[in-house]
Amino acid sequence: MLEGLLLGLAAAITPFHLAMVVFGCVIGTIIGMLPGLGPMSIIAIMIPVAIGLGDPTGALILLSGVYYGAIFGGSTSSILLNAPGVAGTVATAFDGYPMAQKGQAGKALTIAAIASFAGGTIGAILLMIFAPALSSVALLFHSAEYFALMVVGLSAIAAFAGTGQVAKALMMTILGLIMGTVGEGALSNMPRFTFGIMELQSGFSFITLAMAMFALPEALFLVLNPARGTQSGSGGEIKDLRITKDEARKIAPVIGRQSVQGFFIGVLPGAGATIASFLGYAVERNIAKGAEQAEFGKGSIKGLAAPETANNAACTGSFVPLLTLGIPGSGTTAILLGALIALNVTPGPRLMTDKPDVFWAVIISMYIGNLVLLVLNLPLIPYIAKLLTIPRAYLIPFILFFTLMGSYIGQNNVTELLILVSFGVVATILRFADYPLAPLLIGFILGTMMEDNFARAMQLYRGFGFILERPMTLGLLILAVGLVFLPAYRARRARLRQVGVADGD
């Protein structure tokens, strides 16, 4: 391994490759901030540039830099505008945006930058150590387990929604899953629930839904009630950047746990940064006690650090199946695979022996990329946070415009904009009635993947037999049922205890 590391170091630390890391991170961060352009589209856009370099190592280093940059840039718009442009940063908005509202935008961005750095760096160390062994474990996970894993993820999100909110969160999750079934399914090319509308054939777009659920209601609330968000005026001050010793002590264990958990979830093909960030958030919320748990969703630093660490660690983790098996674990790594093949490099078990310089240079570039992102972003944070001090007569039309652009750029379809406005109105009404909207979006994102895996498991086992025949699936599903009923059981016990006390009186 040491030999490989030195080889990678020698290949990565050339002025040209260092320039590629910096260039990739800068481009990724800037474009990632625009809602609507996720890492997948940014990498797709950068592929011609990367292939034009003609050097596989340089190309892969550039594209990985773009990937990390885009994930970090996406967090910025999640925190400042509540407009997550990427599914992996939706969970970042849960606590990042409330922090920005409280006037702690600078601190939130700093925590995001540090958590991303730690997640990415620890992920890279784990990748180095575990890559060969993990590739074989990932193959043990079949579609049945993926399906069960997603059911656990969805129940966990609903279960931790808060007292009295579990049924509502479940309702929103199911609404998200229902919306995910609109359009042509992977199972057959039959359009479902499109009511003859051509534009719905490919289903609702994720970006449109994300904008409609988060950014649009928030912008409308800012219009409705000008008192809202007035405290964020102090968000641009540099003093907010500092993290106190106490806060660092609080988030350190979260970062440690989530780097490891996020990395291992990222290794599973198909799971990726999105599931890692949601599960990371849910797990940390569950572990937290008392007042700290109540703080989640209202601007908890733990709630921000968890998904930020997990999604970056998972991004690194998703390179394991790509580099060691040649199986892309996510849409983004699938595009990377295409780029590699175009450059005459075939990732797979032989990559480490045939082209060790490429393999190790990419790993080394991950460390450098994360360091560059941190160095690049920390000094810029006060300026990025200043965005919030723009007068509302300018800021609100711009937020609305970016939500419109976000859903237009991806699809080039005007109907998408009308869908955005209608869903935005529905989402605002749901927010008025105190329904949580995150589970809806998570249900929507995971719905398609969940149905695909469910269908594959059903076909393999000719029916529901997979639940009983695969112990891991059964275990995971039992855990999911437990997660949903546990809060109801606890609430009932608490109620009975109260009644008991009243009787005694």
Binding site: I174, L175, I178, M190, A393, Y394, P397, Q459
Partner: protein, 168 residues
């Protein structure tokens, strides 16, 4: 009836329509060869519709007064909270005008072109929110529109028609 129960009722109705479509309108369209599969395109929606009705009814019959309502009765709500029963106190006219402006933007984007529609959107949006310094508002809108168009169209290569169709 509280707003959240009305929403739960609407959700149950939606699940019934969805379930009807899944149970009674999809399967006969399936080719005979696919009917031998253990899973049909309607299987997952059928499960979802049943689960949806159960959960919807649970919310409908168990919904407690929302947190906002509790806060209303026990303590003075903070100025930042949003509560639908105080809708009359809010700038509802501004919000509706902005929504109408968004719909107008969607309809005008193609015929007027990106540059014209966006400058209009940003300038009118600002003036709806009370900005009267048009000598600042319009140049800011124009510069922002030009920069974004350049970035999206020229740098990223995503097609956005800048001018009305008859000018190009």
């Amino acid at each position: 009836m509280a707003l959240e129960r009305w929403i739960a009722l609407a959700f149950v109705a939606l699940c019934c329509i969805y379930g009807y479509a899944a149970f009674f309108t999809m399967d006969h369209l399936l080719p005979a060869i696919l009917q031998r599969n253990p899973i049909w395109p309607s299987t997952f929606p059928k499960i979802l519709s049943v689960l949806g009705v159960i959960v919807g009814l649970a919310v409908l019959f168990s919904a407690k007064p929302s947190k906002a309502a509790e806060a209303d009765t026990t303590k003075e709500p903070s100025a930042e909270d949003i509560d639908h029963r105080r809708l009359g106190d809010y700038n509802i006219g501004q919000a509706l005008s902005l929504l109408a402006l968004m719909v107008a933007y969607a309809l005008l984007l193609r015929p007027v072109g990106f540059v014209g529609a966006t400058i209009l959107f940003l300038a009118l949006g600002g003036s709806i929110l009370g900005e009267r310094k048009f000598h600042i508002l319009i140049p800011v809108a124009a510069i922002a529109t030009g920069t974004i168009w350049y970035l999206v169209h020229e740098v990223l290569g995503i097609f956005l028609r800048p001018w009305p169709a008859f000018l190009m």
